[in-house]
């Protein structure tokens, strides 16, 4: 008996020794996301879903970190804005691309020039704004823009730098499927529709990332994504729809991680002369008729925060003094009567049905609320592929849309969404109702020339107040919330980013 025990103890000891002597298992992560990558060309897809993949293979001159998306150095160590048109970037030394080519100013010039080529880029707007790129030396670059663009540097976290030599030498088709960047991860294998496998870049300039192998499984169908998590096949899942929130919460093995999203959802109203909505009292009445708290509670199931403006807190131009108009249907009715519409009027509400969380349901609710004060709403809800071209045409009357600005600068958003349509100057391209207000346009144009960030921020706040209180350009509804789910008890340290990008160097376990 004793002998047997001794033997067993000896074997157990040996096993412990063997395990301890072996190399510590490399950390790895398997996750399911709601969007497939379209390509591995960092300039060809400006959607956040695409940029999220690219941010792991490539670096920008700058990067955004933390809850407020603070702009911090990446491939550039610092930057200056000497005059309204110039931007000077000092580059990081000793950085290497995945193919061991050194990173220099020539790569920066090449990458930014590439932005202007519609064959490979969806960042045409950024590319075409640049008048010249001067390489002072291998580690100093000066950009000159055609017009003053106050938010030029704010965009630097989403313009990724490619290797000039290998991008030019390779076949264009190969560039679309094999990323060669300076990023924290290298692409190991991409099987379209199945998975993307990443391995750590041990020579990364910020230090090798803690997780060595990442497997991303794009699963578009939400219930399958949930099943993948529930069955333990993946450890993190992005994009939990509100209707699946309860089942995830009930499952003891899973944990929900939520993060207020940057995107706000709002209603855009036209102001064509002679139409009821040209009267500010009507706009106010429509605003006050909508019970946003109920929308958040019933339709968003609590996963949204009421909005009083379009930009979110970290955005330049966010005005903390703005508050929502109260929900007051009686007052709304009175305002309508004062404006000369005691019996209401008829309006068409257009919106997408496959773009935002519960978009179609929100449109239906808005129609219902407006009906209560006598406004008859014709609903015209359609797929985004048809809806957005209509917004671009500017022929709509009243529509639901969502927005957040990747540069964290409200000025750019306002030029695109609220400035009077002006094809020559490229203003108001997504001003879908053809809204027009001369005072707003003038104040907005004046902000583009202000270099001092504090002064500019104040002016933008003033502009924001004017748009939301005096003009009611839009009726703000709510900020969305991003929902993720993870396996509980696996030690995953995951703090979602406000832009929804999955940047794996920031995840540990």
């Amino acid at each position: 008996m004793m002998k047997k025990l001794a033997w067993m103890a000896a074997i157990a000891l040996m096993m412990v020794a063997l395990v301890a002597a072996g190399p510590a298992a490399a950390k790895s992560l398997v996750l399911a996301v709601d969007d497939s990558p379209r390509m591995m060309n960092p300039h060809g897809d400006d959607s956040d879903a695409g940029l999220s993949y690219m941010a792991n293979f490539f670096d920008g001159l700058l990067q955004r970190k933390g809850e407020a998306g603070k702009l911090t150095p990446a491939l550039a160590v610092k930057w200056e804005h000497p005059d309204a048109l110039s931007w000077k970037f000092y580059l990081r030394k000793g950085v290497k691309f995945h193919n061991d080519n050194p990173f220099t100013a020539a790569d920066v010039k090449f990458s930014f020039e590439r932005l202007g080529n519609p064959e490979v880029s969806e960042f045409l707007n950024t590319g075409k704004q640049i008048a010249s790129i001067d390489v002072i030396d291998d580690y100093t670059v000066v950009f000159k823009t055609k017009e003053p663009i106050p938010w030029f540097a704010n965009n630097m976290h989403q313009v990724f730098i490619m290797d000039k030599e290998s991008t030019e030498a390779r076949d264009p088709g190969d560039v679309m499927i094999k990323p060669i960047g300076t990023g924290a991860y290298k692409l190991e294998e991409w099987v379209k529709g199945s998975y993307v496998r990443l391995t750590a870049n041990e020579d990364y300039w910020e230090g090798a990332p803690p997780i060595k192998n990442v497997e991303i499984r794009p699963i578009t169908e939400a219930s399958t994504r949930f099943a993948a998590l529930a069955s333990g096949k993946v450890e993190i899942v992005t994009g939990i729809p509100v209707e699946l929130y309860e089942p995830v919460l009930k499952n003891p093995k899973l944990e929900v991680v939520s993060r207020p999203a940057r995107r706000s959802i709002f209603l855009a109203l036209g102001n064509k002369t002679g139409s009821p909505m040209a009267d500010i009292r009507v706009r106010k009445a429509m605003y006050m008729a909508i019970n946003e708290d109920e929308i958040i509670e019933k339709i968003m199931r609590g996963h949204a925060a009421p909005a009083a403006q379009i930009p979110d807190v970290p955005t330049v131009g966010y005005n903390p003094d703005l508050t929502r108009l109260p929900y007051d249907p009686a007052m709304a009715k009175k305002l309508l009567a004062e404006a000369g519409y005691p019996d209401g009027f008829t309006v068409t509400l257009t919106g997408p049905n496959d773009r935002y969380v519960q978009d179609e349901k929100i449109c239906e609710a808005v129609a219902k609320y407006l009906a209560k004060i006598g406004i008859k709403v014709n609903l015209d809800v359609k797929p985004k592929s048809i809806f957005f071209p209509e917004v671009a045409e500017g022929t709509l009357e009243f529509y639901l849309i969502g927005w957040f600005d990747g540069t964290y600068d409200m000025g750019r958003t306002y030029f695109k969404l609220a400035h009077s349509r002006d094809a020559d100057q490229g203003f108001g391209g997504l001003n879908g109702t053809n809204y027009s207000n001369a005072a707003l346009d003038k104040l907005l144009e004046s902000t583009a020339k202000i270099i001092d960030p504090d002064k500019r921020s104040q002016t933008l706040q003033r502009l924001n107040k004017m748009a939301m209180e005096d003009l009611i350009v839009w009726i703000p509804l709510h900020y969305q919330e991003d929902l993720y789910a993870i396996q509980k008890g696996k030690g995953i340290k995951f703090d979602p980013r406000p832009d929804r990008w999955m940047v794996f160097k920031e995840i540990d376990r």
């Binding site: 578009t220 099943a227 096949k233 100057q425």
Partner: protein
Amino acid sequence: MLTYIIRRLLQGVVVLLAVSLICFVIFRYMGDPVLTLAGRYATQEQIQEVRKSLGLDQPTYVQYVKFLWNAAHGNFGKSYVSRVPALGLILERFPATFELATCAILISLVFGVGFGVLVALRPYAWHSRAIMAGSLGGISMPTFLTGILLIMIFAVYVGILPPFGRGKTVEVGFWRTGLLTVDGIRHLILPAITLSTYQLAVLLRLTRAGMREVMAEEYIKTAWAKGLSPMTVIVKHALRNVLIPVVTMAGLQFGELIAFAIVTETIFQWPGMGNLLLTSIYETDQPVIVTYIMMAAVIIISINILVDIFYAVLNPKIRYD
């Protein structure tokens, strides 16, 4: 026979032309891809530049003729979304769909015909009634429901089969197959069953109806009277005659399974062509959609021709002149 095949091929070309024309006209109204491609902040001028670079500023008939000309040379254009040749994108996904559809059609043939015969021989037995009730369920249950139920039962609650994807695959030349690994086959089971349910029920009902009719025929009575074994009577004399419509149906279904396994592929995140088609529709990726539909038409037309030929093999009485 040869003239017949040539005539069918010519008809096929006409059908393809018609399909391509309809596709082209419909997708003109399906949304404007240029807007996304130019980027969110593009100005009107930049949008026009992109439109021009894609040749979308030209009138539809010019675009159509250009498309036909290029297609005739094997060039179906580049995907707007991933900016690589559309045909390559689709062919890359073909093996996954082909393997799934083949397994599904084999399951439905084996079980459909098997159960069909069983039910026809003893129509009033309790197992026959159960099978018929099940087949009614198979016909009426929507694919996405079958899929989700199977996932919930076998992947989440019981946990013996994987819920999504293709598992481990092996590349044999250009063909990425999941049939050579245990993991790959385990991943195939649920989607193949889901995809086969409807077809299985249809084949079952077809076989049953045919068998019941044939079993009452005089020549079957003769065969019984001659004292042939039940196996010979049922399989050789009865089933062979019943199989003609069944094979036609299975053939047609096979084409459809390859071309339109969209729902099943989406639910199981099966990396096949249907999955690609759905994403492409969401993204208004016209070159991929048009190429896909053209390819689906080619597959269905060729399978129809093959079925016709097979017909003659099964039933020597049929002649094509």
